[in-house]
Symmetry: C2
């Protein structure tokens, strides 16, 4: 049985007349008669009563037509749904990100993406760089914000694009002596109780701080450890010490704290967007496009990537 048979039966039921139904279908009457006869033979039951007054479905015909109409609706919807999925209007995006990404690029990116693609299901997973890389390789994530380029086995199958540069800044309570300063020096910091990251991404941050304070610095050893940037800011606000973290902390103004530059300017690993090189999913492409529109200093690699698939 073919969709043609369903279309012909539905048209015949609608027009109650072989000739007019055939005309509507753009075919002649004899082929329609034959197709309906073939259909009735295949179904094993008479589907239409041919009377002098018109052609009307039998009980079997009514039962058949109800299913036929639903089948035709599904077929029509199949094309529509496939088109929407192909354009990235529907689907799913599994996004991994480090906690600090929630400060700066994510709020803007997610709200814009949610507006542009309301029917895409977003799955957000906060995770350290060390976990998101294998998840991308294994296909458990579609895209991830990581601290520095992804590392580990299979990383060569990932594309990485820096979406923002980063350096160390300090955060202090408004009543702290540093609060009025534009910048604080490494020397000043060495004489303060410090609050630093202790999350899984710690090594990268600690490396930056060692560069800043000197490898012999004992200040780092006595520093308070916090799991993520939000905790660092909170502890600094309550006067526990001077928080040190990525410059993206500035993106979330918060009463009770001030941010200070740190001299010398100490770079941290870039915030990087990674995804599988062979992932051509239109939803991913749409997400990358949103990133490009939302992050002015996005790397050239992303533009290349987008141009490549347009």
């Amino acid at each position: 049985m073919e969709a043609r048979h369903l279309r012909y039966a539905v048209a015949l039921a609608e027009h109650e007349h072989f000739g007019r139904a055939a005309g509507e279908l753009g075919i002649a009457q004899p082929p329609l008669s034959k197709q309906i006869a073939d259909l009735e033979r295949e179904v094993g039951a008479r589907l239409f009563d041919r009377t002098r007054q018109g052609v009307f479905p039998t009980a079997a015909g009514e039962a058949f037509l109800a299913r036929a109409r639903r089948a035709l609706d599904e077929i029509a919807a199949a094309t529509v749904d496939a088109g929407r999925a192909a354009r990235g209007e529907t689907g799913r995006l599994r996004l991994g990100f480090i906690a600090s990404a929630l400060l700066d690029p994510l709020p803007g990116v997610l709200s814009r993406f949610g507006r542009e693609r309301p029917d895409v299901r977003l799955e957000l997973h906060e995770m350290a760089t060390s976990r998101s890389s294998p998840a991308l390789v294994a296909g458990e994530l579609d895209v991830a914000f990581t601290l520095g380029p992804p590392r580990g086995a299979g990383a060569e199958h990932l594309v990485s694009v820096p979406v923002g540069h980063d350096h160390v800044i300090a955060v202090v309570s408004t009543v702290h002596p540093f609060a009025g300063q534009q910048a604080v020096s490494a020397d000043q910091l060495r004489r303060q109780p410090l609050i630093v990251s202790a999350g899984e991404d710690e090594p990268a941050v600690v490396a930056g701080l060692r560069t800043l304070l000197g490898t012999d610095s004992s200040a780092l050893g006595g520093a308070t450890a916090a799991r993520d940037v939000h905790t660092i800011i909170g502890l600094a606000a309550s006067g526990v010490g001077v928080g040190l973290g990525p410059s993206r902390m500035r993106a979330v103004p918060r009463p009770g704290v001030r941010f200070c530059d740190v001299t010398p300017r100490t770079p941290l690993p870039d915030l990087v967007l990674s995804f599988a090189a062979r992932d051509h999913s239109p939803v991913l492409r749409a997400f990358l496009d949103t990133i490009r529109k939302n992050c002015p200093d996005v790397g050239a690699a992303l533009n290349d990537r987008l141009r490549h698939h347009t």
Copy 2:
């Protein structure tokens, strides 16, 4: 787009391999490649990723396949449903009947039919013969039990089959003097307070009673009128008088009453089963078949009718 395209896409998704899917479909690999290519062109999106590891649906393909599977399910169900409807296993039967039919043939017929055709929706409408005939002609009923053959305009398009003969019997309270008698005479009845039908089918019954009691009988004029046989029996049980009604009253034994034959035996119009002559509905046929199996003294016309359609 044809059902073939859906079947091929589903098979390809299942086997993840053009060659094996084609083998399963009973065709060679090149035609399958072409059909899938045609499908992708018509949908306007790539539906499968051909990789070295296998053939996998894209996001668009997944969306398409979900709809395709449902469409194919509907198509398969269409044939099944049509077959069931053609065999009269599903559908609807609108049955009109006079109240007294509830006494005798209906309980057995309906319980048997309900067991044999559990998926047929039964619509029961108690109505007088004068109403069921036009309803049958207008197609608002499928079949009806009437008192005597249907009358009125269009009755020639109806088939009528007597399903039981009927005559007048008397019903009295167990404490009534008649209670011990096998039969009562017209003379005895003329000297008793009577309870007779006053429903829409009254004329037929009254005509029978006039035959019994004589047209000059004043007893009928003073009789208590009851709308249906159940009321006649109830009034007789409470001692209001002697109930006169169809012999089918006997089918419902009820404590507190006795039934007596009436002499001379006075026939009433037969209980008749009627339906539209051109109605070949399988549900109707199944119902007639049940009637035949349940009513031993069914008319030859019904057997003819059933044989005609076997």
